[in-house]
């Protein structure tokens, strides 16, 4: 795929680097001349020095042939306008826009950014989880953070210990995937019995995480 990345800060640079090694063709745009020179030395990508909010700079980056635009600058208004220009003016199929201020998430969705990525929210959520629950880990989020794979370590005081799976009522939209017991991987069935120290892997919607936690650990 041909991908245009606008903004070569930490996020833009590592994104471009990963995409390049993933056999994609990448163009990267940044306002800062020095940054562009550094990147040109390091990456096999087309590097364009200029303001990515200007249509002619996007043209220089080959936007007309691009499959995806990723606007990852530190300014939300710039990211939004870059995504809009790419879609409306240059007919790029998919636009990914980085949100810096979580308050702007609604605006991004309303104004036509296909995939708004709220880095601040994602990172603070991970940190919040790490800080608050030691026996609950979010392994992965997908569908823009709406669905998660989580791991729960069952403590001795868990209300489900010695209960069978079929007797435990899980919250809506939550599914048990597997139980890790020592070296053993158990695919849970109705008569599987929970034991202290089991690692439960489950898929859940983000909104139901607290309820799932409540059922399995008995606290929030």
């Amino acid at each position: 795929m041909y991908i245009v990345v606008v903004g070569a800060g930490k996020v833009g640079f590592y994104l471009a680097k990963r995409l390049c090694s993933g056999k994609h063709t990448v163009a990267i745009v940044d306002k800062d001349k020095l940054v562009c020179e550094e990147i040109a030395k390091e990456l096999e990508a087309l590097v364009v020095n200029g303001d990515g909010c200007q249509p002619r700079i996007l043209e220089e980056a080959g936007i007309e042939g691009a499959d995806v635009i990723a606007a990852v600058t530190g300014e939300d208004e710039d990211n939004l306008i870059i995504c809009q220009l790419a879609k409306e003016k240059f007919r790029v199929r998919r636009s990914v826009g980085r949100i810096n201020n979580p308050d702007n998430e609604h605006t991004f969705s309303e104004l036509g950014v296909d995939v708004p990525v709220d880095a601040t929210k994602i990172i603070s959520k991970i940190i919040e989880e790490e800080v608050s629950f030691s026996d609950f880990v979010n392994l992965m989020s997908f569908k823009r953070g709406k669905l998660s794979i989580v791991r729960v370590d069952l403590p001795a005081e868990s209300p489900v210990i010695d209960k069978e799976v079929k007797d435990v009522k899980l919250p809506l939209d939550s599914v048990l995937v597997s139980i890790l017991r020592g070296e053993e991987v158990i695919v849970p069935k109705g008569d599987t019995v929970f034991k202290t120290g089991d690692d439960i892997i489950a898929i859940t919607t983000v909104g139901n995480e607290p309820q799932l936690l409540n059922v399995l650990i008995g606290k929030l």
């Binding site: 249509p55 208004e77 309303e110």
Partner: protein, 217 residues
């Protein structure tokens, strides 16, 4: 009317005062508290500190009952985002944005935003003042039609408006004389030093120049 103005620079503060003096409810938003000093002491509207597309701040500014929303910060992208938020999320009936970059101005006008962009207009006005002897253009960026000013001189004086007009191509709509501005009749006679204001088909500009002997300095 309840009017929200984002950006309290020279234009924003002037506009805020004009509208407020006419009895409108005006709310001015700016990121920088010092900008509000431009409003002067007589301004009796509301000022709010923050971003022009912060949804909470806009609600606080009463955007849900606003009749008009005008965004004139010096950031084109801020203006474009704020204008779209006002139009698409809050459905404000009248939304206007000032945009400096002609390319972005053109693209977003075609997407349905009401945009005022002075850059090309202003540059071409300045160019005409520098280069042209008796001619200056306005609104040439409107693409098909332009408004031009021509100074009456030589053979042109003594002609009537109906001699001068070129149907479908060039139409004099006002004459600035020593005594004021008049709307011409077909039989109005042109005097030396009158300034004609005319609507012109942009494609006919060359023909008009030749016809009236308009040269560059």
């Amino acid at each position: 009317m309840h009017i929200i103005i984002v950006g309290c620079g020279r234009v924003g503060s002037e506009l805020a005062n004009l509208l407020s003096q006419e009895g409108n409810d005006v709310v001015v938003i700016d990121k920088n508290a010092a900008s509000f000093e431009r409003l002067g002491r007589t301004f009796n509207g509301l000022t709010l500190l923050g971003s022009g597309f912060d949804l909470r701040l806009l609600k606080q500014a009463g955007i849900e009952k606003a009749d008009a929303f005008c965004v004139v910060t010096n950031g084109d992208n801020t203006n474009l985002v704020a204008a779209q938020v006002a139009k698409k999320i809050f459905k404000v009936p009248k939304v206007i944005a000032r945009i400096y970059d002609p390319q972005r101005a053109h693209i977003y006008s075609t997407l349905g935003l009401d945009i005022i962009s002075g850059t090309v207009l202003f540059a071409s006005m300045l160019r005409d003042k520098i280069v042209e002897s008796r001619f200056s253009s306005y609104l040439i960026e409107a693409k098909d039609l332009g408004v031009i000013e021509i100074e009456v001189k030589g053979s042109l004086s003594g002609s009537t408006i109906q001699d001068v007009n070129m149907p479908g191509e060039f139409l004099v709509v006002a004459i600035r004389t020593l005594h004021g501005v008049v709307i011409p009749q077909p039989e109005t006679v042109l005097q030396e030093k009158d300034i004609l204001m005319a609507v012109v088909q942009v494609t006919s500009l060359k023909k008009v120049r030749e016809r009236f002997g308009l040269g560059e300095k």
